[in-house]
Amino acid sequence: MIRKITLICAASVALTVLADTTADAYQLLSPQRKWYNTPVMVEFNNNYPETSVTDGDYGKQAITASYFSNNGWNGTGAGTMLDGMILSRNAVQGDGRPTVQFNDPHGYCGGNCLAVTLTGFWHWRGGVEEIDDADIYFSPNTQFTSEREDPSAFWDCSAGEFYIEGVLQHELGHLLGLDHSGVVGATMYSGVSACDKTVDELGNDDRNGINALY
């Protein structure tokens, strides 16, 4: 029996290690899909500000900086990928107007979900999928912070808070057609930890992914 237990343990550990190492680079969403007109104009819905961010403007300046930063998706070398505007208009699936919304009226993102990206795409252009809409919903049940509110993740960030800039950058990667990466430290890495303020800084793996797609 001890031999059996040892075998179970060894197999589990081996598979865990294998599972954590099989995805060692960027992944594109499958089926592969992309926007054919860039930059993608993304609308930030101003109706429901992210009130858990208490930096004076509910993270508006923080995410705008994150969004337009040359260190973000616009600075990957693939060209200007994203443009944006702030509007008072709700996200609607399939309307061709990519929207970032800081609430979740339809309950998509509950439980342990911090934010979700829904991409809508057509099957055409000779079998290639074209994204024509993508909406991002942030969970209203999560406590977010910003780098303006908590400049030092170590000293300022409260336990359980997530930096809104990093979560947004990750979701925008999905919006553009990237899946999760196995590279620890990449913006598109599959896991995110509370008070991790490094996620919004793209890594080489993120740049390689977007440059390969576009």
Binding site: T16, L118, G120, H123, E171
Partner: protein, 182 residues
Amino acid sequence: MNRLIPLLILGLLASAVPTAHATSFREISFADLVEKTEAVVQVKVVSTTSEWTAIPDLRTTAELEVVRSLHGPLTAGQTFDVVEVGGTVDDYTVEAVGFPKFREGDNLVVFLSRWTDGSNDWRVHMYGQGFYEVVKDAAGRDALIAGAVQGEERNGPRVVLTRVVPALMRIDDLVETIQNLR
């Protein structure tokens, strides 16, 4: 000695890196996964139907037949519906990256909870972390691996991630582990 196995597995569960595998998920432990789930069942996917709702959004309803109830009120032989956001109608697809993806004929173990949008419909609890495919291990016994989620190609080169439940965990051990936690 038999009682040691689930304890050992529980230890492995606690020590395994809980891989978040979805849009942006807070990492959770197996105990967290079990704590608020209303039902855990082994199911076969009977059919799937996608349609635009009045919201409007695209949702898929999967009709599932209970093969075995591991926890909760659902019983073997019973059929019920699970609703997930996303799906395909005509040539248009909406995907919620990392959310469960059902395919007719799939043999799965799903952790279930309810939508909080007023519909009270079933949905997969904690998204991809409560969603496992039943496969045969080397000894021909039922075992679990992470199920395919939206954004992954089912027949393509799959990235096998352990998520919360270790790969190739046996269903009987899962049942005993759940019972120990509740």
